[in-house]
């Protein structure tokens, strides 16, 4: 391990201060913080939309909104949470962590880094502004299936342009991640010695570069169908609406893993630290991550089993989808084996990581059930699917992000958060996340379709429970904001090595780390 310790207060950069500092910054930590704060803001905007949805669904009958606006809320909630909350949070973590975990001074392409972030506020301002149009925002679901999405109002070109911008931002971010990881590792850090979080992000970056252009192609064709008289996807002009779904999900399924692979990396970092034992099966974790990424390109049509594919296609996509359970299972088993005969303590990051394993696995179980085409004909487009993907995205991706923030916050700021408040945040979040999403399995199986603003009275009880849970979950996140505020106003007191079981180059730096992280590359054994 490195012995490189630098003076924290030696500020020899000549950057502007105030607002201009943040607009012009090329520093990986500043940009990482920008991404994380932006993601938190989007998490609350998207969450507010989710609460409008859950308030309307609290009881049968329409009480608050008209169906058209309800559809705008479901569409926007998904776009904001996926592209605005989860993806930028992971990019923020990559920005903060990659240089200090591989022993580099900064990201490889700092100006590009600045630009990838600053695209986002403009893209989301444009996306959100469509809600104030006379014809309203997008209402065809985040999947934008034509012909329905072609019926949309004036919002459509704005939505498509903002998704293009998000795609550009993601691709630039991914290029930067790959360039940094492949070129700027400390001497001695071979690929198979990289921290697992770095590995998962490297693979995620390749997924981004492969998948985002496919989405860009699909939505550009939508745009020309609507405004330039082409008919790629309109049947009356000889086009094919199902083709859009194939192209969309060819992007969409790798996207699912873009949202979860960095989370795997985070959990694989936190579990060993608090078990005081090395990660079990490092090599197999790397291979499992790579196999999941490769498989993600040949399973897309399991999102569209009901479009009437040929039998051979249905069987192929069922079998490949089932296959993903194998490397995912290996990951879960490796985490459990890491805990086994460790010496565990249960600080807030560990609690979130443990909840991740259990609740993500439950989401994996429903995923395995959904893979079975005969049963999927029943599950498809019901609340069972809603329950499934929220289990892998909320107690999955979001819990991992929260765990990472608690784990590295003392390193980033030099200030320790309140452990008792952190634990309270954990328990409130975990209880309410289950109250919200578990009953959705039941109503889905009993026959409630998704994306409906009103429902038959037989589904009333579980929907009321889910709505109560959603408000509890949302309010609990205000506590998270308070914890962050409370931490940031403290004095610097955290030790350099915050957690006694933690390993990695970042813990050899001071807390907070110096402005140019590693000015001299450390040597890795």
């Amino acid at each position: 391990m490195s012995t490189n310790v630098q003076d924290i207060h030696e500020d020899h950069h000549h950057a502007p201060s105030g607002l201009m500092r943040w607009i012009t910054t090329t520093n990986h930590k500043d940009i990482g913080s920008l991404y994380l704060w932006f993601s938190l803001l989007m998490f609350f905007i998207g969450g507010f939309m989710a609460l409008i949805i859950r308030a309307e669904l609290f009881e049968p009958g329409l009480q608050l909104v008209i169906p058209g606006f309800f559809n705008q809320m479901t569409t926007m909630h998904a776009l904001i949470m996926i592209f605005g909350a989860v993806m930028p949070a992971f990019v923020g973590l990559a920005n903060w962590q990659i240089p200090i975990m591989i022993g580099a001074p900064d990201m490889a392409l700092p100006r590009l880094n600045n630009w990838s972030f600053w695209i986002l506020p403009f893209a989301f301002t444009m996306l959100l502004s469509t809600l104030f149009f006379d014809s309203g925002g997008p209402a065809a679901g985040w999947t934008l299936y034509p012909p329905l999405s072609l019926q949309g109002g004036n919002s459509m070109p704005f939505v498509i342009l903002s998704i293009h911008l998000l795609g550009i931002s993601s691709i630039l971010g991914a290029i930067n991640v790959i360039a940094t990881i492949l070129n700027m590792r400390a001497p001695g850090m071979t690929l198979m010695k990289m921290p697992i979080f770095i590995w998962t992000w490297l693979i995620t970056a390749f997924l981004l570069i492969a998948a985002m252009p496919v989405l860009a192609g699909a939505i550009t064709m939508l745009l020309t169908d609507r405004f330039f008289g082409t008919s790629f996807f309109t049947a009356s002009g000889g086009g094919d609406p199902v083709m859009f779904q194939h192209i969309f999900w060819f992007f969409g399924h790798p996207e699912v893993y873009i949202l979860i692979l960095p989370a795997f990396g985070i959990v694989s970092t936190i579990i060993p630290a608090f078990s005081r034992k090395k990660l079990f099966g490092y090599d197999s974790m790397v291979y499992a991550t790579a196999s999941i990424a490769l498989l993600s390109f040949i399973v897309w049509a399991h999102h569209m089993f009901t479009v009437g594919m040929p039998l051979a296609g249905e069987i192929f996509f069922m079998l490949t989808t089932m296959l993903i359970a194998v490397p995912t299972g290996v990951k879960v088993f490796n985490w459990v084996a890491t805990m086994w005969r460790g010496s565990m303590t249960f600080e807030t990051p560990m609690l979130f990581a443990l909840a991740f394993i259990i609740l993500f696995t439950i989401g994996g179980f429903s995923g395995l059930m959904l893979a079975m085409t005969p049963a999927d004909f029943q599950y498809h487009d019901t609340y069972f699917v809603v329950a499934h993907f929220h289990y892998v995205l909320v107690p999955g991706a979001v819990f991992a992000i929260i765990a990472a923030v608690y784990y590295w916050l003392p390193k980033w700021t030099g200030k320790m958060y309140s452990e008792s408040l952190g634990k309270l945040h954990f328990w409130l979040t975990t209880v309410f996340v289950n109250v919200t999403f578990f009953p959705m399995h039941f109503v889905g199986l009993a026959g409630m379709p998704r994306r409906i603003p009103d429902y038959p009275v037989q589904f009333a009880d579980f929907n009321a429970i889910a709505s109560v849970g959603a408000f509890g979950f949302g309010l609990s996140q205000l506590l998270f904001v308070y914890i962050l505020y409370n931490t940031l106003k403290k004095d610097v007191t955290a030790e350099d090595k915050v957690w006694d079981g933690a390993e990695g180059l970042e813990w050899t730096l001071s807390s907070p780390p110096p402005y140019h992280s590693f000015e001299k590359a450390p040597r890795v054994e």
């Binding site: 069987i315 089932m322 009993a446």
Partner: protein
């Protein structure tokens, strides 16, 4: 109103069970039964795996903790173990894949159907055409639900019978007959789904999709559109009334004579 329902629920335990339905219906067709069987097979497999994995985790959390003075072990890899927990899940998946593939082949076989019903999705209603019998009509949400569902309608939806689950014109189908459904749409994508009759299939403009059902028990089965199709997606229910073959033939002849009012009494 809610309070009265809860009070009634205390007196009538079956009532509360109906309201707290937690599982997929087994349904009344071969396709719905096979979907249910595959669903339950997968459910129990995941329950067993869950108990094992979470059991080990919980044991470890209870005993392998620093606060009880447990010292960490040093092991961190084992190729043999990795192979074991790659191969065993793979074998379990093979065991699941065989019945699932068989079921799929059976579900997709629409040959030798007794009658053919063409279903066309519109924003926001269904059109049904009985190709052999020459009957056709539109079917949309009934007026009672439609009036009560409006924002600020001033009506308590709990008082509406079959709220959002009733239509003006029911589909009548014969029991014990293989019915081939041809699905298409005129505007956007819809999906025709009655849970107790088996899975759903998308109705897509420019496509004619096929599925089949064979209803074993007479009765009324309710479903809805399952693919987001615009603002009234939540308000295009489906009602299928399954009647014995003789009654079905009677219904067809009445319908052909346009004696709609009389035909609607079939089976009631």
């Amino acid at each position: 109103m809610k309070k009265i329902i809860y009070l009634l629920a205390l007196i009538l335990p079956t009532q509360i069970l109906a309201d707290w339905e937690v599982n997929m219906p087994r349904g009344v067709t071969p396709t719905s039964e096979i979907a249910y069987d595959i669903h339950m097979l997968m459910f129990w497999i995941t329950v067993v795996i869950g108990i094992l994995v979470f059991g080990v985790m919980v044991y470890s959390i209870i005993y392998h903790r620093k606060s009880v003075g447990y010292q960490p072990a040093k092991f961190h890899e084992s190729t043999r173990v990795e192979i074991v927990w790659t191969v065993i899940p793979f074998l379990i998946l093979v065991v699941c894949a065989i019945p699932a593939t068989k079921a799929l082949i059976m579900m997709e076989d629409t040959s030798d159907a007794g009658i053919t019903l063409k279903v066309t999705g519109y924003q926001w209603m269904w059109e049904y055409e009985y190709l052999e019998d020459g009957v056709n009509f539109f079917s949309k949400i009934d007026n009672k639900s439609n009036n009560a569902r409006r924002l600020n309608s001033g009506k308590d939806v709990n008082d509406v019978e079959h709220y959002l689950r009733n239509v003006d014109n029911e589909v009548v189908l014969p029991t014990d007959t293989k019915v081939r459904l041809l699905l298409t749409a005129s505007d956007v994508i819809h999906a025709w789904w009655v849970p107790e009759l088996g899975g759903k299939k998308d109705a897509i403009p420019g496509y004619v999709n096929e599925m089949w059902i064979n209803i074993k028990e007479p009765g009324v089965y309710r479903g809805a559109c399952a693919e987001l199709c615009g603002k009234d997606h939540g308000f295009m229910p489906i009602v299928v009334r399954a009647v014995p073959k003789l009654e079905y033939d009677k219904w067809v002849s009445l319908r052909k004579d346009n004696r709609v009012a009389e035909s609607q009494n079939i089976g009631r």
